[in-house]
Point group: C2
Amino acid sequence: MSILLLGKLSEAEYAVWQQHLSLHLPADETLVLASQAYDKTAVDIALVANPPAGALATLPKLRFVQSLWAGVDRLLSDPSLPENVPLARLVDPAMTRAMTECALANVFYLHRQLPAYLRQQAHRQWQPRQQVLAAQRRVGVLGMGKLGAAVAQALADVGFPVMGWSRQQGSDGLTALLSRTDILINLLPLTAHTTGILNAALFEKLPVGAALINLARGGHLVEPDLLAALEQQHISHAVLDVFNEEPLPERHPFWTHPQITVFPHVAAATDPATAARVAAENIVAFRAGRAIGGLVSHAQGY
Amino acid sequence: MSILLLGKLSEAEYAVWQQHLSLHLPADETLVLASQAYDKTAVDIALVANPPAGALATLPKLRFVQSLWAGVDRLLSDPSLPENVPLARLVDPAMTRAMTECALANVFYLHRQLPAYLRQQAHRQWQPRQQVLAAQRRVGVLGMGKLGAAVAQALADVGFPVMGWSRQQGSDGLTALLSRTDILINLLPLTAHTTGILNAALFEKLPVGAALINLARGGHLVEPDLLAALEQQHISHAVLDVFNEEPLPERHPFWTHPQITVFPHVAAATDPATAARVAAENIVAFRAGRAIGGLVSHAQGY
C-alpha cells in the first residue's frame, strides 16, 4: 500500500514535502505524489493540503487522512469526504511558534498605539499619547487549543493580564471575558458553532475603544458588523489576517480603512521541515494501531 | 534646610510630583517648588527635571542633585553645573518596564515585517513574504546599563538571539556584534564618547538589510549617514523615537521617509508614582551618609 501526497501545491512545494517526509517516514513506506501518475487502488493513507473537492472519495482503500496543517474547515465542508475514515489535523511546532510571535507582534502594535502614531507621522504631528503599561492592558484569547494556549501563555509571560475562552465555557464565560478585554484575539477553529461569532452582539460586550485581532478564519467575522463598530468608534482598530475571500478583493473596503490593518494570511505558515516529522509519527502510530494525535471529530468540526 | 523641585514642568506636573514625593519623603523634610516663592539660601537638595541652565548655580548651600529621570546629558552640558556637588540619575522601575515594552513592540514590528505589509496594504497588494522565526532574527543591544540589560533579557526571553554591548567592551566587541545583528537597538547614554556613534562606519558593519531602533538620544545618530544607508538599502528601516531637534521640525525629511518610523519621544516616560519613591529613598540615604543609587560620573558622562 502507498501514501498519497495530495493538495493545491506547486511542483516545488511537492518536492519540498517529499524531501522532508522521506527523511521521517519508515523506509518500507511508499510515498506517491498526486502531481504524478499513481495507482488509486493502492493508496491507504492520504496526506492532504487543500485537496481538490471530491478527490478523497476516489480512493477505494483509503483508511486514514492526515492534514498537513491545523485548519480542517475546508476539508470538512467537502460533502464527499468519507466520514468513516479517521482524519487528523496537524499543529506544527514551528507554526505554533510563528502564530505566537504574530500574536505578540500585533498585541504590541496595538498596545503601543502604532496605528495612531503612524497616522500622526503621516500628518507630521508631534503628539505624545498617554503611556499605558502591559500590566494595564487586558487581553482576551478566543480558542484555547494548542495555538490559543501557547499564545495566551506568551502574552502572560511578557506582562499582559490574559483571559482565555473556549466554547466549552459557554456564552456566560464569553460575556465575562469580553467585558474585561482591551485587545481580543481570535484563534477559534471555524465550525458551525463559531461561524460569524465576531459580530455586533459580541462587539457590544467589549469596552468602548477595544481592538480586535483575527488570526483564525475569515468566516468568524461578520464584516458589515465590524465596519459599523469601527464607524461608531466602539472598536478602535482591527488587525485582520484572514478573510471570507482570499486574496482580499481589490475593491474591498478593508484595504483602505484607516482603522484596519490587513495582512495577506501570513500569521503562521506550516514549515515542512518540522511538520513532516509530526505527520510521519502519526502515520507510524496509525500503522501500529496506536493513538493518533490531532484526531478530528466530524461532529465538533475540529 | 529644604528640598527644591525644579524643572521645565507645568503647574499640574509640579502638583503631581509634589503629591507623590510627599508620600515618600520623611515628615521632617521641607519640599519647595521652583514655581512658587522660596528661599534660595535654604536649599541643600535639588530634585531636577530639565532645570533652566544656570539655575543650580544660584543655590549657595546645594549639596546634592537628584535627577528625576535617567538621561542627564542635558544637565551635564550646562557649564554652570557645580562639579563638586554629587548628582544622581534615576532609573524608575515603571520607566524600565515601558522601555522594555517599547523595545519588544518595535523589534516585533520589524521582525514581522509590518513596514512592508503596511506599504503593501496602501497599494492593495496581497503578497505573502518569507516567514522568519524569532530564533533566526539576531538582535544587538547597544548599552548594557539597567535599561539595556532589561531590554536584552526580555528579547531573549521571547526567543530572539541577543547580543549586548557596552563601551567598556571596546570597538572590536562592537564590530563583532554588528556583523551578527539583524536588528540594532540603541540604549546608550549620550556622552562625548557616544555622540554620533550611529554613523556610516557603524552602518557598514551591519549585514545588508539590517534595521535600526534608536530609543536613546538624537545626538547618537548622524542623520545624513542614516539617510544615505537607507538610500543604498544597506539599512532597510529605522525606528526613531529621539531627534537632534525635538519636536522634529515640520520640514525634516524623516517625517515622510518611507523607511523611517517616527515616534514623538514616547519610548518610556518616568512615572511620578514609582519614581518619587526611588528619589525619596536616595534623599534618605544621602542624609544618612549612605551610598546613593545612580551616582553620575562627570568624567564618564552618566
